[in-house]
């Protein structure tokens, strides 16, 4: 077997394993953090402090029957979870966990990641349409409108960093943050990006598509078993991707206090920063009420996009001058 092929197979297995592991860690973290925010112990039953609960939940979901509702388009209904999950795995291929821990180094890795995460919208559209359920369709409409709108401020805020580094390569961007993290020079871009990221991943307070008090469960109302868990995995993988982009572009990626074997152990700092941001996401979710759909759109078009554009313009002028 050619070594390159072997490497790719190992990498693919590792990436999928990582996505599952991440979903389990993040799922546990979310439930435990939310529990402590709400002054209750949370998971306590399976394993010490319930650490094996998510594993058990995973087995339970695998064992569940996938019910296809009457009148649903069977093919599209089954396709949607896969369509949602598969593109979420791909960003991990170019993720710079450490200087030498990156499976494929691409010059356009940032664009690749953004392109892959955007496919999720199509999966939601397919899921909502194929379910033959009004609540699902409702959630889908909201989700598509939201994701497409929030993509704009997100890209604009990332673009201001790209103007400074003039590279789309994630390693290149990290290397450009040699002396300071870009959050110091681009705080507005970071805030805009993070808010858009919350909206992109359908997290509260922007969890319109699955607003359970209005739409029962939004686009995945009709999904059970592994169909549901693929959406669940995709959501957590997306959260990780959004936070890791923020880490790479604004928080210096794997840079930190140097450790032995720095080319590989940089993953420690990378994970620390990403999970720190993920913690903030969870914190926000369990603190704030949900915004209304029209307020969500107003916020995007009237505040985020103008501010992101202004930020981009100022950055462009300053980059030109300096």
């Amino acid at each position: 077997m050619p070594p390159e092929l072997l490497r790719m197979i190992i990498a693919a297995v590792l990436v999928v394993a990582f996505v599952f592991l991440n979903a389990m860690v993040l799922g546990y973290m979310e439930r435990k953090v939310s529990a402590h925010i709400q002054r209750r112990p949370g998971l306590m039953e399976v394993g010490p402090h319930g650490i094996l609960q998510l594993l058990v939940d995973g087995f339970k979901l695998i064992g569940k029957q996938l019910v296809v509702p009457e009148g649903a388009n069977r093919f599209l209904f089954r396709l949607a979870p896969i369509l949602s999950f598969a593109p979420c795995v791909l960003p991990f291929v170019v993720m710079p966990f450490a200087r030498k821990l990156q499976i494929v180094s691409m010059d356009i890795s940032l664009i690749f990641i953004l392109a892959m995460t955007s496919i999720n919208v199509i999966a939601i559209l397919v899921a909502g349409w194929a379910s033959n359920n009004k609540y699902s369709l409702f959630g889908t409409f909201r989700s598509v409108a939201q994701a497409v709108s929030y993509e704009i401020p997100m890209l604009l805020s990332l673009l201001s960093v790209i103007l400074m580094t003039s590279t789309f390569s994630l390693q290149g961007i990290i290397a450009a943050q040699k002396y300071y993290w870009f959050i110091l020079v681009q705080p507005l871009a970071f805030i805009i990006y993070f808010i858009s990221g919350l909206a992109e991943t359908n997290r509260a307070p922007f969890d319109m598509p699955e607003a359970e008090s209005e739409l029962t469960a939004g686009f995945h109302t009709e999904y059970s078993g592994m169909g549901f868990s693929f959406f669940f995995l995709a959501e957590y993988a997306n959260m990780f991707t959004v936070c890791s982009i923020a880490t790479v572009l604004f928080l210096g990626g794997w840079k930190g206090i140097p450790l032995p074997l720095g080319d590989y152990t940089g993953i420690f700092w990378f994970m620390l920063k990403v999970y720190g941001l993920l913690f903030v996401m969870i914190w926000v979710r369990w603190t704030y009420p949900r915004v209304r759909f029209d307020q969500l759109m107003t916020f995007c078009w009237k505040y985020l996009i103008p501010f992101a554009l202004a930020n981009l313009l100022i950055t462009a002028v300053l980059v030109k001058l300096i």
Binding site: R39, K134, E214, W286
Partner: protein, 382 residues
């Protein structure tokens, strides 16, 4: 489609959507996360906008009024606690006070004080539940756990004296069935102190939150004229700026002995209704504090004849339940089974505003407006 056809047959007054319009029906309930119980709202929608919401009732109907006509009047007593399960004691209160008025029974002062203290505690419990449920409707998961933490404290206190935690059957004609002791007084005082500090947390977590304000301010405005037209009572009418409270306007029990305010709103929107209930909790604490200070000694149950015969005639009694004015109206033909017992529940009138209030609203606003009404469905269906 079959269900829709069925709906149209059942609700003949419901206009079906015109064939070429973009309107469609959305069934909110009877099993839906934000209808709290088995309320069903049939929504005619135009995209995200609600064109015509029609509440459909009857899923939790248990014929309480009919039961009252077939039972010894005392045997109906436990039923009163099962209508508004979130605030059962005012329902007990109205029922026993009705017979006291009808038969001319004297109630010892201590019993009246105990009734007021426990009823007000129950009102606070009910508002605890409501804050949590309303915020849950609006997508905030955490406040309900905080309010339930406080709610548990009160439920423990009430459990000690009444024997149950939710569907109380504590009051008796002529008094209450068990006296309160020093431990109760001590624990209640401790709770008052604790709850006063907790308001600070509520305000930080909810009241001052920009998203919460944006979601509730100007949403679901009930004008005073509209409130009068529908016979809306309780915190909902007070949110519209009308200071109508049975405890002040038609005082019963020992309420005239206490100094308390009736908080009123200004605009009649969801935010005002929220504020009114929050301030009401503080006023309830004031009432309890004064009642504990003034608590007289004496018997907790007056002299009541063993076999109580109702005189012929009719009688009504109104109390301020947690959700508004609750009236019992009884027609008696003598004997111990009422001829007819009419129960006027506040949530029913409050819900009747919904179709007019929510026309042209966004679906999310409908959920927020409905949450601010504090509906308890078993009370509406009873």
């Amino acid at each position: 489609m079959e269900i829709l056809a069925e709906n149209r047959a059942v609700h003949a007054d419901l206009e079906p959507a015109a064939p070429c319009s973009n309107h469609y029906y959305l069934n909110m309930g009877p099993q839906h996360p934000s209808t709290h119980g088995v309320l069903r709202v049939l929504l005619e929608m135009d995209g995200e906008y609600v064109v015509d919401p029609q509440p459909v009732l009857g899923y939790g109907h248990r014929m309480h009024e009919k039961m009252a006509e077939h039972k010894d009047w005392m045997a109906f007593m436990p039923n009163t606690g099962r209508m508004d399960y979130a605030a059962a004691l005012p329902y007990n209160h109205g029922y026993v006070a009705l017979f006291e008025r009808l038969c001319g029974i004297e109630v010892p002062a201590r019993a009246e004080y105990i009734r007021v203290i426990t009823s007000e505690l129950n009102r606070i419990v009910s508002h605890h539940l409501w804050i949590g449920a309303m915020l849950l409707d609006m997508g905030a998961f955490t406040p309900i756990l905080y309010t339930f933490d406080d709610r548990e404290q009160v439920l423990d206190i009430l459990e000690d004296v009444t024997g149950s935690r939710l569907t109380y059957c504590y009051f008796r004609v002529g008094g209450v069935c068990k006296d309160i002791d020093d431990r109760f007084v001590e624990k209640t005082r401790a709770f008052i102190k604790r709850q006063r500090e907790r308001f600070d947390i509520y305000n930080k977590l909810v009241t001052g939150n920009i998203i919460f304000i944006k979601r509730t301010e100007g949403v679901g405005i009930i004008s005073p004229e509209m409130a009068r037209r529908y016979g809306v009572t309780g915190p909902v009418v007070r949110g519209s700026g009308i200071a109508y409270d049975v405890r002040k306007n038609e005082p019963y029990s020992v309420y005239p002995n206490f100094d308390f305010d009736i908080p009123v709103g200004r605009n009649g929107d969801s935010y005002d209704r929220y504020m009114v209930r929050l301030l009401e909790m503080e006023q309830s604490l004031r009432i309890i504090e004064q009642a504990l200070d003034q608590l007289p000694d004496g018997p907790f149950l007056g002299k009541v004849p063993k076999k109580l015969k109702m005189p012929t005639g009719d009688c009504s009694f109104a109390v301020e339940a947690a959700r508004g004015e609750l009236t019992y109206y009884l027609v008696s033909g003598g004997g111990d089974i009422p001829y007819r017992l009419k129960i006027r529940v506040p949530s029913y009138s409050n819900l009747s505003v919904l179709p007019e209030l929510c026309q042209g609203m966004l679906l999310s606003d409908l959920v927020a407006a409905m949450g601010s009404m504090d509906l308890v469905i078993p009370e509406i269906d009873r």
